[in-house]
């Protein structure tokens, strides 16, 4: 099992296969994109604060925990810091597993854990 964590300035680049896939029967990629609206209020961008190295260390630990819990083959996590415009990707997790169900469950589990534990904060920049 391998867990990769990458913090990127600004929006994430286009998706590419980054998780270890040898022996996989399922590869799942989830992308978090900056919503253009919060309720009815338009958002121009989000500004991400990442407490380093605690945040990438936490993401790696959570990735390892989720990989063990769901029997994953590989996990790759990418997260933005700084400004990301509405519509751009700020978070991506890729997982691989022998069968689809482990991958589907693992992605939801990882995101829940990340939103509770990773020291990352986002602040909206409202559109004028």
């Amino acid at each position: 099992m391998q867990v990769e964590v990458t913090i990127v300035d600004g929006p994430l680049p286009a998706v590419r296969p980054t998780c270890h896939q040898h022996g996989a029967g399922a590869v799942l990629c989830f992308e978090g994109v900056v919503r253009p609206l919060e309720g009815d209020r338009p958002i121009e961008a989000l500004e991400y604060e990442v407490y380093e190295p605690m945040a990438p260390n936490t993401l790696r630990r959570l990735g390892e925990e989720v990989a063990r819990a769901h029997g994953l083959i590989g996990v790759s996590i990418e997260h933005s810091r700084g400004r990301v415009e509405a519509g751009q990707c700020s978070f991506r997790v890729q997982v691989s597993s022998a069968h689809r169900q482990e991958a589907l469950s693992a992605v939801a589990d990882f995101i829940d854990r990340m939103k509770q534990a990773a020291p990352i904060w986002k602040s909206p920049i409202w559109a004028q």
Partner: protein
């Protein structure tokens, strides 16, 4: 003894600073004491503190953990990554 506490996100906005200095008794310098002094010295942060923990040198700290002037201390909570 003076401890510098890093602030992020809503805590930073509430305090109007990225870092605040807190003076605590060196003989009783724990995260619990730091929490109490921080609530007193930064009233805007007080309502948020129950939802926060301290990280000492990038590790989440228990309330009884001691802190010293060489430690990097951060208030961690109300996270919203992703």
């Amino acid at each position: 003894m003076e401890i510098h506490v890093k602030l992020f996100g809503p805590m930073s906005r509430a305090a109007g600073a990225r870092q605040v200095a807190v003076t605590i008794d060196a003989a009783q310098a724990t995260c619990a004491a730091l929490r109490q002094k921080l609530a007193e010295s930064q009233p805007a942060l007080a309502p948020m503190l129950p939802a926060c923990r301290f990280a000492v040198n990038h590790q989440l700290a228990a309330e009884h953990q001691s802190v010293g002037p060489g430690d990097e201390v951060a208030l961690v909570g109300l996270v919203s990554g992703g």
